[in-house]
């Protein structure tokens, strides 16, 4: 909900519409050009401009007499705060007929000294926002100077002294001053329009920016709340998976164990057919166990519970060991398995068991997606500088001549439970966890994993691993959720 009242909802004052400094400059220019003082007041009597000219010495002399001071204060009060009406000594100005319609609202206020003021209201959209006071000036039609109202203020008033002073005051017909005043009024209207436009647009722009900001903050808050809820649900899901996988594994291990005992004849001899059946139970049990282990791995990674144990290891031994465990599958499928390994390899640091799992996962995939008669190769490079890591490292390449992966799927295949073909009629089994585990473990070592493939012509997975992971200690693999948190307090 929007808060606060907009500037569009309230009346704008004269001061808000005029830039006081530049307005004063304009008034000063006017005063110098026409030699008549100008005062501008807002509707509350606040002064926006006050430029005097010519009358200072004369008024100062009059002001030096107590009665002069009293009458002067009353006159100034009349022009500044008195009603904008034909009362309290104000009368209509004497004008040429053509000026009368435009000079609507203009008043003449005579001063007891014989000088005069013209007062005109500042009208804006039907409101009176203030007034402009012109003067004092010496009206041309004044026959007798000094009038009795001036000389009577004191017996000490010296006409001979006052006359040269009053000569400095602008002498003009009332109509001339009125014309100047109307001209000033037009200029003021233009300045007000420009000022109002700028004031309103600036204010509304600020209001709009603040309001957009408020809206964005509210939206962010909602998104943050939703994100927190989702993260919590995700954590619960991972924890649930970890528990369930663990609970599934325990009885499954017993099933496999007891089947093995049966097959080995520990409970008495079995005939050929019975042994076949029991072996099938064992094989399927093993497959199921692998799947459950993968789920357990990924759920532990996602729950942030996996620690890598770094220790010196032999990368050649790692590859050879993985190849050995793949042999039965390779033979059964009927694909060729080549290895290109360097003759010598220095010791590197890593989590041997996890890296072995990485290589086995990649090789298992390669064999799985390569048809009979195809070829799978694993390559280990020597240690050299790796631009990807900006550190010394080595690469392990797993290539196959299998079905390949469409280019638009390269990013997605590393997501948990993702499969290129997820239809119910798909050709290849699996839970879609192998590559997600590969990626987590490789990145846990500070390495990177990349894929290149041409559909129908095979795939190549490249692991780039550092000789020494950034952290020498155990590393806790963080869940693969990308989120940027606020920086910590610094001061």
């Amino acid at each position: 909900m929007r808060q606060g009242e907009s500037v569009l909802q309230r009346r704008i004052s004269l001061g808000e519409m005029l830039d006081t400094e530049s307005f004063t400059e304009v008034v000063k220019g006017f005063v110098e050009l026409y030699r008549v003082g100008i005062k501008v007041f807002d509707e509350k009597g606040g002064k926006l401009a006050d430029i005097k000219i010519g009358n200072g010495d004369f008024c100062g002399y009059v002001f030096s007499f107590p009665e002069g001071r009293r009458r002067c204060t009353a006159t100034v009060g009349r022009v500044k705060d008195g009603p904008l009406a034909l009362s309290h000594g104000a009368r209509l100005p004497v004008l040429e007929p053509d000026l009368v319609p435009a000079a609507k609202g203009m008043l003449t206020v005579p001063c007891f000294t014989g000088l005069r003021y013209l007062v005109v209201p500042i009208l804006w959209e039907g409101d009176t926002l203030g007034r402009v006071v012109f003067g004092p000036f010496m009206p041309e039609d004044l026959k007798d100077f000094p009038p009795r109202t001036l000389t009577e203020i004191s017996e000490g008033f010296d006409v001979g002294n006052a006359r040269p002073l009053v000569d400095k005051v602008r002498l003009a017909p009332e109509g001339t001053i009125a014309r100047v005043m109307l001209h000033f009024g037009q200029l003021l209207q233009t300045m007000l329009f420009a000022g109002q436009k700028m004031f309103l647009t600036t204010q509304v722009h600020i209001e709009a920016t603040l309001d957009s900001n408020r809206e964005l903050e509210e939206r962010n808050k909602r998104l943050e709340d939703a994100n927190t809820r989702l993260k919590e649900l995700d954590r619960l899901k991972s924890a649930f998976l970890a528990t369930v996988s663990h609970e599934l594994r325990t009885p499954l291990t017993s099933i496999i164990g007891y089947s093995e005992m049966l097959a080995e004849g520990l409970a008495g001899p079995l005939n050929g057919e019975q042994i076949d059946y029991v072996r099938t139970i064992m094989e399927k049990g093993e497959t199921l166990l692998k799947l459950i282990s993968s789920i357990l791995d990924i759920s532990q990674i996602e729950a942030g519970k996996v620690r890598l144990n770094f220790e010196p290891m032999d990368a050649l031994e790692l590859i050879n060991g993985s190849l050995t465990s793949l042999k039965p599958q390779v033979q059964k499928k009927g694909v060729a398995l080549d290895a290109k390994l360097p003759a010598k390899m220095p010791m590197v640091t890593g989590d041997r068991d996890r890296l072995r799992q990485v290589i086995v996962n990649l090789l298992t995939n390669a064999v799985k997606f390569t048809p009979k008669g195809g070829r799978v190769a694993v390559t280990l490079t020597e240690v050299q500088h790796q631009p990807d890591l900006n550190a010394p490292g080595y690469r392990i390449l797993v290539e196959d001549s299998g079905v390949g992966i469409p280019a638009d799927q390269f990013d997605k295949i590393f997501n948990s439970f993702y499969q290129v073909d997820s239809s119910s009629t798909r050709e290849y089994g699996g839970a879609g966890l192998g590559l997600a585990i590969v990626k987590s473990f490789v990145e846990g070592h500070g390495g990177v994993v990349r894929v290149a493939s041409e559909l129908g012509h095979g795939s190549r997975f490249t692991l780039v691993l550092p000789v020494t992971p950034g952290s020498q200690q155990q590393v806790l693999i963080t869940p693969p959720v990308t989120s940027v948190g606020p920086a910590d307090d610094r001061f």
Partner: protein, 235 residues
């Protein structure tokens, strides 16, 4: 509505709402053209180089009632471009009635609907109850090809309770009729809420007659509705 008893002043706010380029500013320009300078302010417009309203337009029209109450009618437009939603909300604040300027071409239907929803949403954000703030729909650009037929517009009218006015704002057709309808709706709603006829002695007839007393309604439907003007009245 802002009613200031101390200053004896009533301000009524009308907002022209609608999609970009539907003719909101054109409506205000036409009202401005036909209104005597004695009773209106200047038309304040902030446009971008492509002649589209950037912030809003504002045209004030004012008069005094027989009881000496000053009445100001402030006509605003909102910016049509999607990105200026915050400005639309600000301009809409405190509106007494809304003139929704729709483009009557068939192709503009989706855009009209989107801005209608936006209006409803922003009214809610501003705490304006649609039951109390009347809306008048102007179907503008009736002269263009692909415009909806009268029968189709009649269908639209039947779907809601908002009055519908056809217009070709660029030629001044329907502009004053829309203004009249939206002011009438605004008055009736304010009368129901604030009893203007009792509290300040302002009747619907005086309100509408006074607003239009200094607007040149010749050649519009309003000639039949409003009392004939004194010969030689300034326009």
């Amino acid at each position: 509505m802002q009613l200031n008893h101390a200053q004896r002043e009533l301000t009524v706010k009308i907002v022209y709402y609608g999609p970009g380029l539907s003719g909101k500013t054109t409506n205000l320009q036409m009202v401005h053209q036909r209104t005597s300078p004695d009773v209106r302010g200047r038309l304040l417009t902030v446009e971008t180089h492509d002649d589209r309203t950037l912030f809003f337009d504002l045209l004030p029209v004012f008069f005094s009632t027989a009881n000496g109450f000053k009445v100001k009618v402030k006509l605003f437009t909102v910016p049509g471009q999607v990105i200026h939603n915050a400005t639309r909300r600000i301009v809409l604040q405190g509106a007494d009635a809304v003139a929704f300027i729709a483009d009557s071409r068939r192709a503009a239907g989706q855009e009209n609907n989107a801005y209608w929803k936006n209006l409803v949403e922003n009214m809610k954000e501003n705490n304006l109850d649609p039951a109390q703030v009347p809306i008048v729909i102007q179907y503008n650009k009736r002269d263009l090809p692909d415009t909806k037929t009268d029968a189709e517009i009649e269908e639209t009218r039947k779907k809601g309770r908002e009055p519908v006015v056809g217009a070709i704002a660029i030629r001044g057709v329907g502009v004053l009729e829309t203004l009249y309808t939206v002011l009438q709706s605004a008055y009736r709603s304010l009368e129901a809420r604030a009893h203007l006829s009792k509290t300040i002695g302002l009747t619907e007839k005086e309100f509408l007659t006074q607003v239009f007393a200094n607007i040149d309604v010749s050649g519009t439907e309003l000639e039949k509705v409003l009392p004939p003007r004194a010969p030689g009245a300034r326009t």
